[in-house]
């Protein structure tokens, strides 16, 4: 009870408390995707999680979404324990997650329809289409639009539920750099306008620095948080400026060290 009040005072929206998650892989080895991970996320914060593949960053995001459950430890959103997916925790998946049998506007309306509140909120669909700049593509099917457009639809689809927190799982991973920059800009705009807490999983250091208030660096096997870096640069951030580049080098170095596992003394 007192803890809960404390978290409100500190304006912590999400509290992750010594979470463990282990998988059994195809070769019957147990893989520690997350080991004793603790993290607090502030309300309205833009947080990025970065690390090499297999460091458990996607597992962490899935736990927050409620798509997966930890073996031990707990995750609390606004003082409530996370046990299953809920519309207030929006999730943007990697490429190709739109329903191919639904048009752009139908895809965006899924959240409203699934919750049975479509009729009274119909008008919102058009608003979100305008927000992501897809006017004229309402009736298009996902295979008829570009990858960048599809990801904007995926973001709008998650936002229409008015989530308090938006989880982004490498949503720009497969896009070309121009489209990526465009969506990053759009994402910042939405973040400021809607005042949503955002957690972004990425392997792109530039993207993390450009967007985030804080960057969580994770290491693999076992998946652990190595360091949390605060980004104090002012928006809009210039990717070519020296302080941006210095931070970039700093993080890359840390990631490099992070991915260096003890080398065997000889190889067979």
């Amino acid at each position: 009870m007192s803890e809960q009040r404390l978290s409100v005072v500190n304006n912590v929206i999400l509290r992750i408390d010594s979470v463990n998650r282990t998988y059994i892989d195809d070769a019957d080895n147990s893989v520690e995707a997350l080991q004793e991970v603790s993290l607090s996320v502030k309300r309205g914060e833009f947080l990025s999680v970065i690390g090499s593949s297999g460091c458990g960053k996607t597992t962490l995001l899935r736990l927050i979404a409620g798509l997966d459950t930890p073996e031990s430890g707990e995750l609390m959103l606004d003082g409530e324990k996370i046990t299953q997916p809920a519309p207030q925790r929006g999730y943007v998946f990697q490429q190709g997650s739109l329903f191919p049998w639904l048009t752009v506007e139908q895809n965006i309306a899924v959240g409203l329809k699934a919750r049975g509140i479509y009729k009274e909120n119909k008008g919102q669909v058009a608003e979100y289409i305008k927000l992501i700049g897809l006017n004229g593509f309402e009736k298009s099917y996902p295979h008829q639009i570009s990858g960048g457009m599809a990801q904007r639809v995926a973001i709008a689809r998650a936002l229409i539920n008015n989530p308090t927190i938006l989880l982004l799982d490498e949503p720009m991973g497969a896009l070309d750099s121009f489209t990526r920059a465009d969506i990053q800009y759009k994402l910042l705009e939405l973040w400021r306008k809607k005042n949503i807490t955002m957690i972004l999983v990425t392997h792109d250091v530039d993207e993390a620095i450009y967007l985030s208030d804080r960057i969580v660096i994770m290491t693999a096997r076992p998946g652990k948080i190595k360091e949390i870096i605060e980004v104090k640069l002012k928006h809009p951030r210039d990717r070519g400026k020296s302080d941006f580049l210095a931070l970039r080098r700093d993080i890359l170095e840390k990631l490099h060290l992070a991915s260096t596992s003890p080398q065997p003394e000889y190889m067979i």
């Binding site: 979404a65 409620g66 798509l67 299953q84 997916p85 809920a86 519309p87 925790r89 929006g90 999730y91 998946f93 190709g96 997650s97 329903f99 191919p100 049998w101 639904l102 048009t103 899924v110 959240g111 329809k113 699934a114 919750r115 099917y141 295979h143 008829q144 689809r157 998650a158 539920n161």
Partner: protein, 365 residues
């Protein structure tokens, strides 16, 4: 008309007729891509019906050498019609049909192209009918009574169109009841098998084993078990439609990518939404593959069942006609089946195209 335009005019006809003409490849491709001019299209229309016109002329002008009884049938108002007359009326109906299609295609360049493509085939069909008329009726050179001429087949409809119609309706009713129930049952069990692991475990093996048995093998069993022959035949059609629909529905449901469910769940969807709005739409292309397979099975089962113990239907009509060596009636029934089954498949195709329109451009064909 100057020489060069006249040449291109005749050349385009040769292309339409698929005649080997001396054009290089690029020129031919150009012709295929070009839209069809008015003059050319009128000529195409004339050529399309020319074969059927020839068939009419052959029927009128070719002397009747063999001794074939040309029966006359009374029409309304004291008029009479012989079988040759009826045959010519059918040909005229075909001519009017194709002229109708031609005028329907007049404004649409795409339809014009389609019409042009089918012209040679329709032309040749007319000639084949004329030949058949000559060898089957005029000269009677085809082995009788197995291969009657076209006029003789038309005679069946003059003799007993009411009875043929009655049998057609019987077949249609049997088909609709059995097929609709079979597909509904198939989709239902398919969803259950695809969704619940325990049902998959217990029911799927049964489906796999019983599904490979041709439905007509259950005939003796069905005829004793069910109160009426109609119910027995319905049962056979249901089980033959059920198997392919159920197994394909099940694989479509079970094959739904996990990410689709996860997306829906993060958006607030509960189980009914996941089943009806995620899994079933994903399985729909599969379901339609099952339905077309079931469709083909059903036609076979329907006719077999009718031949082996129904009081009516086109299969029954074939069997009853065969007993009297009335092979022209057998052909008449086959003709009706061809039309009826094509119409059914066309209707299913329309429904499929409507429900799966999102796939347009996503999949080949």
């Amino acid at each position: 008309m100057n020489t060069s335009s006249a040449t291109s005019f005749w050349r385009s006809i040769a292309v339409a007729l698929r005649l080997p003409i001396s054009t290089n490849k690029s020129e031919r491709r150009q012709t295929a891509g070009q839209s069809i001019g008015n003059k050319k299209f009128i000529l195409l229309s004339v050529l399309t019906v020319a074969g059927f016109t020839a068939a009419i002329l052959v029927n009128l002008l070719f002397p009747q050498f063999a001794s074939v009884k040309i029966s006359h049938y009374p029409l309304l108002g004291g008029m009479e019609l012989d079988i040759n007359g009826a045959y010519r009326i059918v040909l005229i109906a075909l001519i009017l049909l194709y002229l109708g299609i031609a005028s329907f295609s007049w404004l649409d360049p795409e339809r014009r192209k389609k019409f042009q493509k089918r012209m040679p085939f329709r032309f040749v069909i007319g000639l084949v009918l004329a030949l058949w008329d000559v060898f089957g009726t005029k000269l009677l050179l085809l082995p009788q009574p197995f291969f009657p001429g076209p006029a003789r087949i038309i005679e069946s409809f003059l003799m007993e169109s009411g009875y043929i119609w009655q049998n057609t309706l019987y077949s249609l009713r049997l088909f609709l009841v059995g097929f609709i129930l079979g597909v509904a049952l198939g989709v239902g069990t398919g969803i259950l098998i695809g969704w619940f692991h325990s049902i998959y475990y217990w029911v799927y093996p049964v489906l796999k084993i019983t599904g490979v048995i041709p439905a007509v093998a259950w005939m003796p069993f069905a005829l004793t078990l069910f109160p009426t022959p109609f119910a027995a035949a319905t049962f056979l059609i249901i089980i033959c439609a059920w198997f392919p629909v159920a197994s394909l529905t099940a694989s479509g449901i079970a094959g739904t990518p996990k990410v689709h469910f996860e997306v829906a769940r993060t958006l607030g969807a509960k189980t009914p939404y996941l089943v009806f709005r995620v899994a079933i739409p994903h399985a729909l292309p599969n379901i339609f593959t099952g339905i077309s397979t079931a469709n083909a099975f059903t036609f076979t089962t329907l006719v077999m069942a009718e031949m082996m113990g129904q009081p009516g239907g086109l299969g029954y009509y074939i069997n009853a006609s065969k007993v009297w060596s009335a092979y022209y009636k057998v052909f008449a029934a086959i003709l009706v089946m061809a039309v009826l089954f094509s119409l059914i498949m066309y209707a299913i195709g329309l429904i499929q195209g409507r429900l799966l329109r999102w796939q347009k451009g996503l999949v080949k064909a």
